[in-house]
Symmetry: C2
Subunit: 109 residues, 2 copies
């Protein structure tokens, strides 16, 4: 599996998993995060390998379409860059760094 694609799907999953069905969540998580093969997932859920493959492909498109509409992942990246700029500019201001950490942590709740 391509590492770049794996990383991207895992990142999108972090932001949009709550919008997926339980089945979509399970398949994507097992395949991309837990590195199961399609055959292993198919066996686990007693469905065909093709059914798992089709479901995962559809979910990938759905995750990309949420990102296109809401940009949560790209906003997170941009926000992180601004936060890092501030950390670099004020390395000794612990109170400011604390506030910046809290701003970044909001996304991770």
């Amino acid at each position: 599996m391509e590492i770049e694609k794996t990383n991207r799907i895992n990142a999108l999953f972090e932001f949009y998993s709550t919008l997926l069905t339980e089945k979509q969540m399970n398949y994507i998580e097992l395949y991309y995060s837990d590195d199961y093969s399609l055959a292993e997932i198919a066996e686990e859920f007693d469905v065909s390998r093709q059914a798992v493959y089709d479901n995962i492909k559809r979910t990938e498109k759905l995750l990309e379409s949420y990102e296109q509409k809401l940009h949560l992942y790209s906003n997170y990246i941009v926000r992180g860059q601004y936060c890092d700029d501030i950390r670099t500019k004020y390395p000794n201001d612990a109170a400011l760094i604390e506030l910046i950490d809290q701003i970044q942590a909001i996304d991770e709740e």
Copy 2:
């Protein structure tokens, strides 16, 4: 119409409108943002007043369900409070305020 509810639906609409269908968008925007009556919307789209009402009620629930799953609006509020804290603490640091403004603007693109 209750002003509090109007404000909340308008706020949720800002964050989640891209996830709605065109019809859902149109009805909600005319009703909550442009202050059309149900009867006026019904006439405009040549449907019954009840159909408009049902669609709007369903869309309100959908917007609340997106907020429950993604918390974009409540995150925006919390982030704004941290940003205001920083503005209050460093009123004379124009470069820092500029970075904070940019962090807040990310959500508004």
